[in-house]
């Protein structure tokens, strides 16, 4: 996944600055410095004096533009990083080794943080080993049970990521338990409305189809058997899941049982934020920085 993203990455121009806060754990710092080595970004590291001394010793000789900022305390470090982004002194915020809940509460605060309310969602990105094709599943982290308005934002955010990944005319499957519109099952009604919005070009060039159950979404033949005529089944770029639990189950089954390389990106914040989510491999964490940079 990382090799592929690097090949898509623009070689020219000034690289964005990624500010890591708070830097504590060596493995997180290594992720950032690998991205720097691959010419994806320039590093800004916020941490206490001990950590910075270690980083300086290890990386100063090999990284020319290493920017180190001393700041004690997790909360203060994150606040400083957010301030830097707001003042355009850095471009991308990267979560260091700190409690995810506290980090997100601070960063996503509608007033003081980097995002407007209801503007952001999380996209899991998987790569099929068969044909190197990307598949997105969203929202797999932020919304517990998104309503129609939130799903509309979720679709728009995923499309923002499709653009730099050069996914032409993205095909979006809005999943529900059945493929028929059932007024008693809200996920089917939401999906139908999103499909209608797409028909009216409210999502630009993308083709949004729904409701689709998982068999119809993943197999053209299964869809044909249910007499469903659409270009989306069996050729999906983006799956929109009805709730976070189904998002977890779907993305993790593909990632772990299907052995697909996987990463995740928060989309829709004012400036990209790389969240330190568990169960992501080292190279895929580097890929997450590349993906965030593509969103700029």
């Amino acid at each position: 996944m990382l090799d592929y993203l690097c090949s898509k990455f623009p070689r020219q121009g000034e690289k964005p600055k990624v500010v890591l806060a708070p830097a504590k754990d060596q493995s997180v710092i290594d992720v950032l410095l690998k991205a720097v080595k691959l010419n994806i970004c320039r590093p800004v590291i916020i941490g206490n004096s001990d950590v910075l001394a270690e980083v300086a010793q290890k990386y100063r000789p090999v990284v020319s533009d290493l920017e180190l900022i001393e700041q004690a305390g997790d909360f203060e470090s994150i606040k400083l990083a957010v301030k830097m982004i707001k003042e355009n002194r850095a471009d991308i915020l990267m979560q260091g080794d700190t409690n995810r809940k506290d980090f997100l509460n601070l960063v996503l605060d509608p007033g003081k943080g980097l995002a407007k309310r209801n503007s952001y969602s999380y996209v899991s990105l998987l790569m099929s080993p068969k044909d190197n094709r990307f598949t997105m599943i969203t929202d797999t982290f932020i919304h517990t049970l998104p309503n129609l308005q939130e799903k509309s934002v979720i679709v728009e955010n995923a499309l923002k990521l499709a653009l730099p990944l050069k996914i032409d005319r993205p095909k979006v499957a809005v999943l529900a338990a059945i493929e028929k519109v059932n007024p008693r099952i809200p996920s089917t009604v939401d999906a139908a409305v999103l499909a209608k919005m797409s028909e009216r070009k409210q999502f630009g060039d993308a083709v949004v189809e729904g409701p689709l159950d998982i068999d119809c979404a993943t197999s053209r033949e299964a869809a044909a058997r249910k007499k469903l005529d659409s270009v989306v089944p069996g050729d999906v770029d983006i799956y929109v899941v009805p709730n976070v639990e189904s998002g977890y189950a779907f993305s993790q089954m593909l990632a772990f049982v299907g052995k697909m390389p996987h990463a995740g990106v928060l989309v829709g914040t004012a400036k990209p934020v790389v969240v330190n989510v568990p169960f992501i491999g080292f190279d895929e964490k580097v890929a997450e920085i590349a993906l965030s940079a593509m969103l700029l």
């Binding site: 299964a222 977890y248 593909l254």
Partner: protein, 297 residues
């Protein structure tokens, strides 16, 4: 212990043919599945449905169905009611869905269960063979309960435990899927999992509760060993978990284990191979219920 579908086919052949009522095998895939299951000696079929449509489907496949008993029916609820009543009256070993919506079958089963006062709720378990996994994995409930509450979830787990018992797993492990993500409010599915741990953590339910709540946690534990039973929090997750066979190399089939025996539940989009698996599993389950004398009240 039955740990793959090859063993299920083998046992279906040994124990079969089981008496099978098929509810409206009115299209090619369903009829073709019946033809194969009969040819393999798994089942002795009995049809309920539109006689003309069933004949056309059979003719297309050069399947001589003259000797197969048939009852004419066109209303899906009547077809389901009749077939399920046959199961509860011990006139058949198992029932399989054909070309009618599943909701009619669920309704018919629940009606019979309530009539007998045995069960108030039913569930559909999807049984998967996963490459690299040394046992079968059941995912439940993937069909009936849209958003089960805690009590319903306990019933659903008990149905799946019985299913796994019949397949030879005496003390199956359960993972209750949720999304424990350090963000936002605690999910009901997580709270229910905690409660289940408090109430059944001692093994008194005949199952072991695993500490994980997601597939990623299972693989991260280093053991990467899937549980015998995944309980899904609601139907949307169930649908996804149960039908991933088009994107990852798993094989699956689905069943409702009623107190009178199994009802095979192929999806309307399933193809012959998968439907034959549903029927073969049903035959094996029916035979094991008889052997253990745990069927019919």
């Amino acid at each position: 212990m039955i740990n793959n579908f090859a063993k299920i086919y083998q046992l279906a052949k040994e124990k079969g043919p089981g008496k099978l009522v098929v509810l409206a095998p009115e299209d090619r895939e369903f009829m073709s599945a019946v033809k194969i299951a009969r040819h393999e000696g798994y089942v002795e079929p009995f049809f309920i449905g539109n006689l003309e449509k069933m004949q056309i489907a059979a003719d297309e496949l050069d399947f001589n169905v003259d000797q197969i008993k048939k009852i004419s029916g066109s209303d899906p609820q009547e077809i389901a009611d009749y077939g399920i009543a046959m199961l509860f009256n011990k006139e058949t070993d198992l029932v399989s869905k054909g070309q009618i919506p599943t909701s009619y079958i669920y309704r018919a089963v629940i009606k019979e269960e309530q009539k007998r006062g045995v069960k108030n709720n039913i569930s559909v378990a999807s049984l998967m063979e996963v490459p690299g996994c040394d046992h079968m994995v059941a995912v439940t409930d993937v069909g009936v309960n849209i958003a089960p509450d805690y009590e319903a979830k306990v019933e659903i787990i008990k149905d799946a435990v019985l299913l796994m018992n019949l397949l030879g797993y005496e003390f199956p492990q359960v993972v209750m899927l949720s999304a424990n993500r350090d963000y936002g409010p605690a999910l009901q599915s997580y709270l229910d999992a905690q409660r289940l741990r408090e109430e059944y953590g001692d093994g008194s339910g005949g199952f072991e509760i695993r500490p994980e709540h997601s597939v990623a946690e299972i693989f991260d534990s280093g053991k990467a060993s899937l549980p015998h039973i995944f309980l899904v929090p609601e139907l949307d997750t169930g649908n996804i978990m149960a039908k991933l066979n088009y994107v990852i190399p798993v094989k699956r089939c689905a069943t409702v284990l009623s107190s009178a025996g199994p009802v095979a539940i192929p999806s309307r989009s399933d193809f012959t191979e998968s439907i034959v698996r549903d029927m073969a599993l049903g035959v094996v389950l029916a035979a094991r219920i008889k052997e253990k004398d745990m069927g019919l009240n």
